[in-house]
């Protein structure tokens, strides 16, 4: 998982679920990780902050795996490709 976007998604999800980063793989499913609907929208909120992007509701609904989230963000376009964590406003 050297892809920086994958790394960003995985670390954000680890933080949301309060689990070690190592437990999260690209093909981990939300079901395996115990990610429910509230966790999922919290993850999207985190990613919007870190990547400085806006994720529309409709794009967000179908994700079931870490890979879905990564691919969904890539599909959102060039802005989303910037995987460096954005500075969080003070």
């Amino acid at each position: 998982m050297s892809d920086p976007l994958v790394e960003t998604v995985a670390s954000a999800l680890a933080e949301v679920k309060h689990v070690p980063r190592e437990r999260i793989a690209l093909d981990s499913t939300f079901a395996e990780l115990g990610v429910d609907s509230l966790d999922a929208i919290t993850l999207l909120f985190e990613l919007e902050t870190r990547l400085e992007i806006a994720i529309p509701d409709d794009a967000a609904k179908s994700a079931r795996t870490v890979r879905d989230v990564v691919e969904g963000i890539r599909a959102l376009g060039a802005a989303a490709a910037r995987a460096e964590p954005a500075p969080i406003p003070e």
Binding site: S37, L38, P56, D57, A60
Partner: protein, 409 residues
């Protein structure tokens, strides 16, 4: 005779919502399937993912309250008082000091005066004002509606506010009903009010990703979420015998109340919790499931709620479920959170009183997971003996009211 006390009549109604500023206007819209949902006007929505809401339009607070009183009234408390005034007037009750001592006020509110709080925090944090307005606390407190009603009408008995998110008003009406039934009080004002349209609050809903970008289509295959609404509604409850003795018009009997908690998840609904609340309401009313002809559903229009509610109804009613009419009036007045159950109680009571069932508006196509008779788009004439009104809250708190028709005039 109720197994546990006096029979309780609904003798007064008051309502203000996106459909109109009183019960007559609200009912006229409901029974004509006319939705009050439109583009949000009271808040700058340029940075918001959703655009639509069910706002109370054209309200001139100065036409209802003098300037000094308005200083104390957040919009949600204005709605509570306006609805209570109408309900009292409608009931024909004369509130003497002696009766006032034997009268209760139970209001539901999820948010209290959050609009006042939001505006105050903008001043404090963004404008660096360094202070909050001295009337902020009396405006923000969730019991402001109940307190303002009691002060204006001279109600000196038990007055309180219940806050259980989207079930607040049903919990409030249910508790008031039990107090009248048991003889603890002889009259009650019961309902709820809510004013959720502030920039900060809308942003919080945006983050939950449950608001429809278009409109509210409960039970419809292409439903995309809920639409927030605002307003207030109040019912006057009194013993049926007292109502008959004074020759009052009785809209319907309130006959049962059931509650349950899912003990499961803060936002995901269950089937078992709502089913237990419906069973509890039937049992409390002493009514058989097959006497119920109409359910005013919680019916938020979200992907999650509607199929779970349909399964809960099927679990409680079995084969009878296919003979029930089930509609969600949230399709017209929006989801008014702590006022939702009160507006829906008015709709349910009027349905029993007039023999017209309000429809589920904005309905486009049947969802196989929501395959009940949802009275799509057009009201229906139906002589219904008894009805339920469902409210299921975030946090898994469920409250169901049961009503019974009395002879129509």
């Amino acid at each position: 005779m109720s197994p546990s006390g006096r029979r309780v009549a609904v003798t007064g109604l008051g309502a203000i919502c996106a459909l109109g500023h009183d019960t007559a206007a609200t009912w006229d819209a409901l029974v004509n399937g006319r939705s009050g949902i439109g583009r949000i006007e009271s808040v700058d929505i340029s940075g918001l993912r959703f655009q639509n809401g069910a706002e109370v339009r054209g309200l001139d607070p100065a036409a209802h309250f003098d300037a000094a009183r308005l200083d104390l009234l957040d919009r949600f408390a204005q709605f509570a008082v306006i609805a209570a005034r109408e309900a009292l007037r409608d009931s024909g009750v004369t509130l003497t000091p002696a009766l006032g001592e034997r009268t209760a006020v139970f209001t539901g509110s999820c948010l209290g005066g959050q609009g006042t709080q939001d505006a105050g925090f903008v001043e404090l944090y963004r404008e660096n004002s360094g202070r909050m307005h001295p009337l902020s606390i009396p405006r923000i407190m969730a019991n402001a509606g109940a307190s303002q009603i009691s002060m204006e009408l001279g109600v000196t008995g038990p007055c309180c506010t219940i806050s259980t998110a989207c079930s607040s008003a049903n919990h409030a009406i249910g508790q008031a009903f039990w107090m009248v039934r048991s003889g603890a009080v002889d009259l009650a004002f019961a309902g709820g009010s809510e004013a959720p349209f502030s920039p900060g609050h809308l942003k919080a809903w945006e983050a939950l990703r449950v608001i429809a970008p278009d409109t509210c289509r409960p039970f419809s295959r292409d439903r995309r979420g809920l639409i927030l609404g605002e307003g207030g509604a109040m019912l006057v409850l009194e013993p049926l015998e007292a109502a008959a003795a004074r020759g009052a018009r009785v809209y319907a009997e309130i006959s049962g109340f059931g509650m349950s908690a899912d003990a499961h998840h803060v936002t995901q609904p269950t089937v078992a919790g709502p089913a237990r609340a419906m069973r509890a309401a039937l049992s409390d009313a002493g009514v058989a499931a097959d006497a119920i002809g109409y359910i005013n559903a919680h019916g938020t229009g979200t992907r999650g709620n509607d199929p779970a509610e349909v399964r809960a109804i099927r679990e409680v009613f079995g084969a009878q479920a296919d003979r029930l009419a089930v509609s969600s009036t949230k399709s017209m007045h929006g989801h008014a959170l702590g006022a939702a159950g009160a507006l829906e109680a008015v709709a349910t009571v009027m349905a029993l009183h007039t023999g017209m069932l309000p429809p589920t508006a904005n309905f486009t196509a049947t969802d196989p997971e929501c395959d009940l008779d949802v009275v799509p788009n057009r009201a229906r004439a139906a002589s219904v003996e008894a009805a339920l009104s469902n409210s299921f809250a975030f946090g898994g708190l469920n409250a169901v009211l049961a009503f019974r028709a009395l002879s129509r005039r």
